[in-house]
Symmetry: none
């Protein structure tokens, strides 16, 4: 019974994580209710504790999912040697993932300002893969003279990721009106590279 059991265990874990992400996204860490998370995942109150030893651990598990998958999917694509296409591919893959895991994405944004050092580190660790990828990309471009040099690649990446994040927030806050998820990648990349000037 081992294998099936193991597989089943993973499935239960995923259901719990999905439910938890939903609650943490909507109510914050303190406001989320562990028992309700369990119930909404289709189990009884205590069941979370068979998979996570505490609320903190459950929360960490969500942040641990992170942006690795975004990077993996981006790398799996075959792209022309062109910064604009690469950046757009990144945003496209991130949007795709955010749409799949909307709740988890919201948790990240929500906890960006958390005071708890632990939480902050988890958030930073979670988005690190994406940050590293973008910084490397921009550094390469800078060294080829394609990008402005008055700002470090790190600063530029902050602006880029900031624009992505705020586009998400805007979309969530406006119930998905503008920019829509489809046009979001092109919009963000264009604003980032070309600026607003005519």
């Amino acid at each position: 019974m081992a294998r099936i059991s193991k597989e089943a265990r993973v499935q239960v874990r995923l259901r719990l994580l999905a439910s938890a992400a939903q609650h943490f996204a909507e109510h914050g860490f303190k406001g989320a209710n562990i028992n309700q998370i369990s119930v909404d995942a289709g189990f009884a109150k205590g069941t979370v504790y068979n998979y996570f030893s505490s609320k903190e651990e459950l929360f960490s598990a969500i942040l641990a999912v992170g942006t690795e998958e975004t990077v993996r999917r981006y790398r799996a694509r075959d792209l022309p040697d062109n910064l604009r296409d690469h950046l757009q591919a990144i945003v496209e893959e991130d949007v795709a993932l955010v749409l799949e895991q909307e709740a988890m994405a919201k948790v990240f944004v929500r906890e960006l300002l958390s005071s708890s050092p632990t939480t902050r580190e988890l958030v930073h660790a979670g988005i690190a893969p994406l940050v590293v990828l973008v910084v490397e990309l921009l550094e390469g471009s800078q060294s080829r003279g394609e990008l402005r040099q008055d700002r470090s690649a790190t600063e530029l990446s902050t602006a880029f990721l900031g624009m992505i994040t705020m586009a998400y927030v805007q979309n969530w806050s406006s119930d998905g009106r503008r920019p829509t998820w489809e046009e979001l990648p092109a919009f963000v990349v264009s604003m980032f590279l070309d600026g607003a000037l005519a």
Copy 2:
């Protein structure tokens, strides 16, 4: 200890608001502790309730401060007829205010994603003055052909304000390393108008 002057009452209120902003910013609405807010303001735990009838009302009072002051200070300045200077003035004044009221600013950012409709409305109402100002400015510029026309002024303002917000978050998260508060306005405006390309 009765019959303190009206002025004294206002001062107490401000101390409570400042303490509350700090706590809400650090721990979120649910995580903030009313008693601790009162104690950290230098009073006994029950004292908040002499000034605010509930945690909700205290929270609302913070968000009600809003961005009116930013707009007011911006309008008080005498600026050349130049989009770049106007945008930079806005960011400068906003940064100045954020530095004065850092905790309150964090509360806004933190609650952007709150699920409670009430909270979300309060946040939107709080930043409305700034949004209106920026949209008007960009619309004027668009009509003079200075800005790209493929995006609405509203979308462009989202990008602009998003970059400001994320620059704040970045600064807070990195303990003020880069971009520093001083160079932040020029950085944001340049990225917004000129883009990252060389």
Copy 3:
């Protein structure tokens, strides 16, 4: 200024007592709010404490009013030598007083079952004058052979006062429909003396 001052003090005290009776009657001892009592009496929060040293003392002062006045008014009347008329006079005077001090009367009834020994004693002391009067009256009647002898005058008085009390409760609970205050004395006395049989 002494005399006027003294008079004024008494008036203030009475207003506070009246307001307090209202609150104690409606919400019970624990449920009554001292500050509200003061405000409803037309003063500021703390003012009660210039007249009563604690909630307990204020409460006691109400119960101390008692039934002396009922007895006094009854004795002031010139009545034929007839048990029925005497009993009816007692009820009439008590009803008159209850109508004047409805709130205080309700406090008595409400606290009949209070567990606090102090309160219970106060209630008993308050109604003692009336109990004594009725018992004496019934004893005299018994000694003249007018009343049944199988029950002590004390037991009979319990029945009599109980019927009065419950008639009040009934009247209050039914918003004064039946029995009305006017017909109440005759009804109670007749039920007590004659019974329900045809």
Copy 4:
């Protein structure tokens, strides 16, 4: 400690109700302490909330017990066709029940004057079965010409039930001296039917 039997759950509920009745009877609704109720029932302070969602609901549950059982027991008896015996049977059964559920009975009496409309309605609903029974009995007697006709059956029932209630109060207040529980039914019925006259 999960999955206790249904029966066990009912037992816990009863223990909580008994403890609650005690507290509400002694201190009134506002004065009763939920935590203490739970502790005195032998549980931790929060346990009440696993069975009742609020203090109000717990209180209602007590009043909901009502006088149905008294009526049921009375109807189960085989009685001669005689008003006096029927009335006495009612009081006997009510006394029996009051002795079993003394605390709950006190709650009823205590809350008769409560200002909260909800509470008052609950009390009235609780005693309704008994009121209906007595009124029907008296109406039948009146139609057979056994009872005085100058008062409605409803008014007469008020007097009867009022005498019962006050006999209880008297007994509780005097620590059970007179009338004793045993002689109470005969006393009340005799006073009600025959009056005090010799």
